[in-house]
Amino acid sequence: MIRIEQLTKRYGDTTVLNIPEMDIPKGQVFGLVGNNGAGKTTLFSLLLDLIQATEGTVKIDQVDVSTSEDWKTNTAAFLDDSFLIGYLTPEEYFYFIGELRKVSKEDVDELLAGYADFFNDEILNKKKYIRDLSKGNQKKVGVVATFIGDPELLILDEPFANLDPTTQIRLKELLTEKGKDTNTTILISSHDIQHVTEVCERIAVLEKGEIVKDLKTKAKTLKELEEFFAK
């Protein structure tokens, strides 16, 4: 699904990301952990062609993201609140994304109905603009919007941050459910290693722009990660 080759991002003399090679196969649920400044958001921004790589390429479905825009049809992402449109109501936002992804209003409604639990009655029909929602509720809107149109690749940056405990648990269930679908590849970054080990089948640790660990999730993975970060 994703192929990274010789990817580096430098600002002046500082290398903020350097990944010689990485493959993320279709259907994988991939977790990215690392401390602040490790390069998680940089990597995601490069995958989405929001910043320009200094060297190397990112390919989604064999297509170089910086030269073609074909990857946009089957990719959905939520990195931060710059992926939300503040002056729309959540419904209007979902329909807008739906229209862009060629999903009818009815289908969007049907999809949203399935997330009633997750929304906990705080999102829909509240006559509120997204800008007036709390950070946590904004995140719920952003995350669910990425599910519209069943994209083959989901990229979520810190999806658990700002969420209340109940919603965190529900989101974990949701993502695990999505992850079972062999057609959907999911990329998640998080500061919370416990969440990541619960949801992801593969976990990579980024440190100072380099992948220092790349693990298949097993029973002892959480322990291993804790030891790594405790140093």
Binding site: L48, K72, S82, F83, I85, G86, L100, R131
Partner: protein, 491 residues
């Protein structure tokens, strides 16, 4: 402490996207600044001689009579353009800085705004010329100081009325009423206001009055600001109930409609973008200045008619189009990672501009009352706006890269008004080119040939749409990463 705050301000200015967005914009900015300064100085210097020799009135008395209009107009103008003192208040509130210091600083800083300083460029040369022509120095000085106080008064009045649309509209309506009354000889305010200003010249002691008023206004503005320095008071975000808008009609435009519908919501739901509609309306009536004799025949020249024609239909084009794609700056990363072709996106913006221009042209049909040639100028302007200026605003938009914080309107200390001076300056080339075209055309066959030249250029531009869009598209693509980066900074 003041010095520290000044340093903060300087840093935020130096590091803003506007200054780092490239040489071309900065040069335009400086050039425009210089243009205004020179114009003001020339006006200050020249108006004495024009009034004295051409019109045969006492320049000082004349200015005194009409200064009331100048002042009111200045208040209205400032209301639209001047930014409120921008300071990241929330971050400072819990720091060991006295609230009074913060407020004094925020208010004091406004004294140095372009809107105050530019007055000096008019009044100082004017006063100097007065003294040179035998007006006694001390009296001129006293008058000058009074006027300076009044200019500063407008500064603080602006701050006080900034959140009060009702007050603002009251001022604007009264101003228009007085002008109309005077025009039709019902009531002439200048007869009463002239002597008031003469007093500052005749009897220097009265100059204290405007200064006392200024002090009072400062105190008021100070209390006004200070009382709102709480997160749940003035700094609170006002929440409005969301309203549904039915826009199904637009679906007939296909994919473009998705963005048009979104843009309409953008315009209607954010104060800052809503202002573009008000300004478009103002632009619509701007032509009255040119086509009636209220300008004293100053603009009674076909080249200026084209200028007015561009303005009448181009209000939305200049205030909205100029800021594409900055309107979407808050969620530009979303737009860039969605399944969107640039062409659809740009086409939607262009359609918005075209629709607004057409509507303005229709609304402007009352100009026919002033003659067919007047409406021809407006039609020509509209054709040119759609055919050429529509592209030009999109082109310059690619370079402006000033993020627009739509939500900032909700904070009392954000920069809240609809457009800033810089974008206004960037409109100058869009106005002068058609004037040149008209002039060239008219050399060959008079007025109508001039109109035809401008209109044909517009029509030609319209048919080259695909080619031009290719160019704009490439430009937006190359600028994509820089734009994304610039939008990450908040204003």
């Amino acid at each position: 402490m003041f010095v520290r705050l000044l340093q903060l301000q300087w840093k935020s200015y130096r590091r803003s996207a506007a200054l780092t967005s490239g040489v071309i914009t900065s040069v335009f900015y400086l050039f425009g600044m210089l243009y205004f300064i020179v114009m003001f100085m020339l006006l200050g210097y020249g108006s004495f001689y024009v009034l004295d020799e051409e019109m045969g009135v006492d320049p000082l008395r004349f200015i005194n009579q009409h200064i009331i209009y100048g002042t009111s107009f200045w208040i209205v103008w400032r209301y639209f353009i001047q930014k409120m003192p921008v300071l990241n208040i929330q971050a400072l509130l819990t720091l060991p800085i006295k609230v009074n210091t913060i407020v004094h600083y925020a208010l004091g800083r406004t004294i140095f705004s372009f809107f105050n300083v530019s007055n000096a460029f008019f009044f100082i040369p004017f006063s100097v010329v007065l003294v040179n022509n035998g007006y006694p120095f001390s009296q001129v000085l006293s008058w000058h100081l009074a006027v300076a106080a009044i200019v500063f008064c407008t500064n603080y009045i602006n701050i006080l009325i900034n959140d009060r649309n009702d007050l603002f509209y009251a001022v604007a309506v009264i101003l228009v009423l007085f002008a109309v009354f005077q025009r039709y000889d019902i009531f002439d305010i200048t007869v009463y206001m002239g002597p008031v200003f003469d007093t500052f010249y005749n009897d220097p002691i009265y100059t204290l009055i405007p200064w006392l008023v200024l002090l009072l206004l400062y105190r008021l503005a100070f209390t006004h600001f200070k009382n709102r320095m709480y997160l749940d008071a003035g700094l609170q975000v006002a929440k409005k109930e969301a309203k549904q808008i039915q826009l199904g009609w637009f679906n007939r435009f296909g994919r473009t409609a998705i963005f048009i519908k979104n843009d309409i919501k953008l315009v209607l739901r954010n104060k800052r973008s809503k202002m573009t509609l008000w300004i478009s309306l103002m632009f619509l009536f701007y032509g009255l200045l040119f086509f009636t004799d209220s300008s004293g025949g100053l603009y009674d020249n076909p080249v200026w008619k084209i200028f007015a024609g561009i303005f009448v239909s181009g209000g939305f084009l200049f205030t909205f189009g100029q800021y594409v794609p900055s309107w979407d700056s808050a969620y530009y990363p979303l737009m860039m990672s969605q399944n969107i072709a640039y062409r659809e996106y740009l086409n939607a913006k262009w359609s918005m501009i075209t629709i607004a221009t057409s509507v303005s042209t229709l609304l402007g049909s009352f100009y026919m009352l002033f003659g067919w040639d007047v409406y021809a100028a407006i039609l020509t302007g509209a054709i040119y706006n759609i055919g050429i200026n529509g592209y030009l605003v999109l082109l310059s938009g690619a370079y402006i890269k000033t993020p627009i914080d739509l939500t900032s309107t909700k904070k009392p200390f954000g920069d809240k008004q609809a457009f800033n001076a810089k974008t206004l300056l960037l409109t100058l080339p869009k106005l002068f080119l058609p004037m040149v075209l008209y002039f060239v055309g008219s050399l060959f066959g008079g007025e109508w040939a001039g109109y035809m030249t401008v209109a044909c250029t517009g029509i030609l531009g319209y048919f080259l749409k695909n080619k031009v869009f290719d160019l704009i598209e490439t430009l937006y693509k190359t600028e994509k990463y820089k734009t994304l980066n610039a939008y990450k900074q908040s204003t």
